[in-house]
Structures are given as C-alpha cells and as structure tokens.
C-alpha cells in the first residue's frame, strides 16, 4: 500500500486543451483516504445555445474558442484555491479549465472539492466557480454560422462573485 499523499498533493490546478475524465478526477482526489466525508463536483459544459440571448438571428453555436493568459490562468486559479482553503476546511480540490476550440456537449471546466462534511465542500465549490468566472483570465469566442463574436461578461456573474466578498484579498 502506498502511503497517503501529504495534504498539499490533493490540491490540483490544470489548464489544458484536452478533455478530462470527471470520474477519474473524483476517484484520484479521494483514493486511499478515510478522512473525506464529502466530495462535491461541478462540471461546466459547452451548451449549444450558449449566450443565445445575444445571438444574432438566433443562429446556432458551432463552437467556443477559449483564449487564456498562459501562466496567469493557473496562478490566479491557485490563488482562488488558496482563498477557498483559508475559508473552509478543505481536504482536497481539483480545478481543471480547458482552452482552445470546444464544441457543444464537451466539457469546459471541472471543480471538485473534498471536505469532512458537505457544507464546506458545497460552499467551496460554488465559491471557486463564482470567482473563477470573474477572475480567471479566460475569454470565450463564439463561432456561429454567420459570425464570430466575443462573449460579453455578465452582470449576474459579478453579482454571484460579490456574494462572497467579505474578506476579499
């Protein structure tokens, strides 16, 4: 039996073009441990009608291309994970964000949080997603039949991020 990994090994941030296996990531986070009582998983997928409210003539989304700031994207998400660890008793977390061209139905982002009890895992996962959307340097370019356009930031996302603002770093 391999020894249990030190706690810091259970906090992972990856920025990658390739897809990820959600079940494998969840299994890796909790493998060989008996202290984790709750694992919460959030997957963000590319939707066929993404930002459909702003779609010109309602034309279907063909693909999203996610541009990112190499280096800062990973560093910023690590800072968000550090902030989550300061707020909740997390035993592990995995955040994976894809970049490049992604078609409807494919994964974009994964957040997995682990803690002794469910409250912290739920809250930390929601916090990470809310802050990731407004702070992680990624930009979505929509590709439709007729046009390519940058997705505009949503005020609802800012509001979602601000509900955690007490003690903003």
């Amino acid at each position: 039996m391999p020894a249990a990994a030190p706690p810091d090994d259970r906090f992972t941030v990856r920025i990658q073009a390739e897809d990820f296996d959600t079940a494998a990531e969840v299994a890796a986070l909790s493998a060989g441990r008996v202290d984790i009582g709750a694992v919460v998983t959030f997957s963000g997928l590319c939707r066929a009608d993404d930002a459909g409210d702003s779609a010109p003539n309602g034309s279907r989304l063909v693909a999203l291309t996610l541009e990112h700031y190499p280096g800062m994207a990973e560093e910023e998400i690590r800072r968000l994970v550090d902030e989550a660890r300061a707020r909740w008793p997390l035993l592990g977390a995995t955040v994976i964000h894809r970049h490049g061209r992604i078609v409807p139905g494919e994964n974009i982002v994964l957040v997995v949080t682990a803690s002794p009890h469910r409250g912290a895992a739920f809250d930390a996962a929601a916090f990470l997603m809310d802050w990731l959307k407004t702070r992680a340097p990624f930009w979505k370019l929509e590709e439709r039949a007729e046009a390519r356009s940058w997705v505009a930031a949503k005020e609802a996302d800012d509001a979602a991020a601000e509900r955690w603002t007490a003690g903003t770093p």
């Binding site: 541009e67 700031y69 800062m72 959307k133 702070r135 930009w139 996302d157």
Partner: protein, 83 residues
C-alpha cells in the same frame, strides 16, 4: 516592459505582445493605457472605453491606479468570460 493583449483588445491592436518603453511620467495602469491609446487607430479603438479594459501586472489583477514601476509584464484584456 513587455505588454500583452488578449481577446478583443488583442484583435483591435493587431498584436499579442510588444516591448514598450513608457516615459517616466506614465506611472499607473490607467496612465499606461492612455499612453498606449495614443499610439494609433487600433490602440484607440481598444482603449475606447478605458474603464472596461482590465489589466494585470506580473500576472496579478491590477486596478487602474496601480503603480507600474518595476513591472516586467503588463497585460490588458476585456472582462473575463471563462468557466
């Protein structure tokens, strides 16, 4: 210092990175944006609404009044839309 541009800021300026020597009186992120906006049509278009464009100094988010002295890498980009 090295300046990076992303998403529609990059498209409007027509390049993703460049070396810029800003004059001494350019001290903050906002002053750097104004200095860059004067470099040409694409730059002016990119910084047309300066409050919309976000910035990072050495890969950390920076406010418009943040000092740029000593920065190695400054990036300008639209509000983020990942996730």
């Amino acid at each position: 210092m090295k300046i990076l541009y992303f998403a529609w800021v990059r498209e409007r300026i027509g390049r993703e990175a460049e070396e810029v020597e800003a004059p001494e009186e350019v001290r903050t992120v906002a002053e750097l944006a104004a200095f860059l906006a004067a470099r040409g049509e694409g730059y002016a278009e990119a910084f047309k609404e300066p409050r919309v464009v976000r910035a990072a100094i050495d890969r950390r988010h920076a406010r418009p009044d943040a000092p740029i002295a000593g920065a190695r890498e400054i990036a300008f980009f639209p509000p983020m839309t990942g996730g």
